[in-house]
Amino acid sequence: MGLESNLNTDGGGFMVTTVDSVVNWARKSSLWPMPFGTACCAIEMMATYASRYDLARFGAERMSFSPRQADLLLIGGRVPIKMMPVLQKIYEQMSEPKWVISIGACASSGGLFDTYSMIQGVDQFIPVDVYVPGCPPRPENFIDAFMKIQKLVENDSVKNYKKPKNNSFNKLWQTN
């Protein structure tokens, strides 16, 4: 059964697939999240990573604290006006392809803090793929959002990232 049944006795054999499925399979099973946790949701995020819920089961235990090596941005917690430029800088530094989860009411909509210093939803200024409701969301919610992102990655296509907009770096490598 499974892949192993296609193997010969000497370990040879081959299989046919598409580049998209292989790349997406690899991407979705080893997402490197960049935890941008500011407040309460970061504690629940920590709980998801810790002993009981263990996000390592989804291939995402390697937290990448450097945005340049991350492909999933987890925005957990309130984002005030002083933090927003930092968040945008981090989003900019992440390389394509990248996905964003907005965890909790505050990051998604401002939550109960409708005040002068709070951003009313980070999706006004950076694109968000999956929203997690709750204040703060339970780890189960968070895992559900994570699986949604995996589905999104699975349906993605390599073609989408062929010619990124406004990327002068790409031009250097074009031969013809």
């Binding site: 407040a39 709980a47 005030p80 204040c135 703060p136």
Partner: protein, 403 residues
């Protein structure tokens, strides 16, 4: 030319380094601008405000019971202590006393919150110094306390359980809860012992913590430090003992005191405080009096029981009188300040009332903000790698720091 001479001839210059605001070891959103001479910190300039959400302004537009929601989000490691501190300040303003049983339940929940807070603080501190096991052990205990909080208040983290004159849900605390708390806390003693076995005699842990980040008792008072950081310097001041509130005078517990005021002493004080909190919880459960939990229903400040609201017209009118925005409370005019001992130190609320449904001004005295001021003198002259250890031991909660 010897190496020492060579070292003198090489021209060096100081380096500016930026620590945070998005850094895994800050446990939140802190930023420190440091000037380094080699690996030694010459000057440190902490910058805060990356989580400022206008708590005090928002409170002026919410009713007293609504504000309990917001206090949860100040210190998200021990939300119930914040609920309690706020509601006690309000009850001081309203001149309201809740029955003994309610007070004991508040003590149980506050002490469980304190344990949960110290669990995460010690665990994260150990994690920063490379001891991952202690973090996982303690977080499992924190999960057990989450379960109890969820069972009692309905939410894992944000309890929002206190209301003016009692609790959000009435007559909910039963023997079943006591049994569950006993079950959850029985493992806690063992975990504390295990973590102490892992860390207390650990040579690496000693090297990273003993003699680092030292504060003297005199400085501690002058800088306004409170909580475990103050007690680690050898000053015996715990508000639960010196100004008892919510029946803390009924319980027999010790206040652990450190000697040197370094990181290791703060760690020891926190570990011992967890044991003492367990003692208080055990005593409170044993001596839990019978009777009502909430204050008298006739009182115009207390929400009526839910079954009365759903079945009788009087209860419904009573509920509406309190929660409708144009009705609400009619508190006396004046200002009160109430201090409580939160896991981080003195958590005080100053409430200024105008006689209206929401406070005229609500000021929180956050322990983290005041405790964090010591960072600058503490860091100066230390090594760069000690920054993480010192930050972990101060247990700065960004939500409380910036509000």
């Amino acid at each position: 030319m010897s190496i020492a001479e060579l070292g003198e001839t090489i021209k060096t210059e100081k380096m500016k380094m930026n620590f945070g605001p998005q850094h895994p070891a800050t446990h939140g959103t802190l930023r420190i601008e440091m000037e380094l001479d080699g690996e030694t910190v010459v000057s440190a300039n902490p910058e805060i405000g990356f989580l400022h959400c206008g708590f005090e302004k928002l409170c002026e537009h919410k009713s007293y019971n609504q504000i309990v929601n917001i206090t949860d989000r100040m210190n998200y490691l021990s939300p119930f202590c914040n609920n309690l501190a706020f509601i006690l300040a309000v009850e001081k303003l309203f001149d309201l006393k809740i029955p003994k049983r309610g007070q004991y339940i508040r003590v149980i929940l506050a002490e469980l919150s304190r344990i949960a807070d110290h669990c995460l603080c010690v665990g994260a501190q150990a994690l920063d110094l490379g001891a991952f096991t202690a973090f996982l052990y303690l977080f499992e205990e924190r999960e057990n306390i989450y379960d109890i909080m969820e069972m009692i208040s309905g939410n894992r983290l944000m309890t929002t359980y206190t209301r003016v004159g009692g609790f959000a849900r009435d007559r909910e605390f039963t023997d079943y809860h006591i049994k569950e708390i006993r079950r959850a806390t029985s493992g806690l003693y063992k975990t504390i012992d295990e973590v102490e076995k892992l860390l207390n005699q650990n040579k690496i842990f000693h090297g990273r913590t003993i003699g680092i980040g030292v504060v003297s008792g005199k400085d501690a008072i002058n800088y306004g430090l409170t909580g475990p950081i103050l007690r680690a310097t050898g000053i015996d001041w715990d508000i639960r003992v010196s100004h008892p509130y919510t029946s803390y005078e009924d319980f027999d517990f010790d206040v652990p005191i450190g000697e040197n005021g370094d990181i290791f002493d703060r760690y020891l004080v926190r570990m011992e405080e967890m044991r003492q909190s367990l003692r208080i919880v055990e005593q409170a459960m044993q001596n839990l009096p019978d009777g009502p939990e909430n204050a008298e229903e006739e009182d115009k400040y207390v929400l009526p029981p839910k079954d009365e609201v759903y079945t009788t017209i009087e209860g419904l009118i009573h509920q509406f009188e309190i929660i409708m925005e144009n009705r609400g409370f009619k508190p006396p005019i004046g200002e009160v300040y109430f201090r409580t001992e939160s896991p981080n130190g003195e958590l005080g609320y100053m409430i200024s009332s105008n006689g209206g449904n929401s406070p005229y001004r609500c000021r929180v005295r956050p322990p983290s903000l005041v405790n964090y001021q010591i960072l600058e003198p503490m860091l100066t002259g230390q090594m760069l790698s000690d920054t993480v250890a010192i930050l972990g031991s101060l247990n700065v909660i960004a939500g409380e720091l910036d509000r």
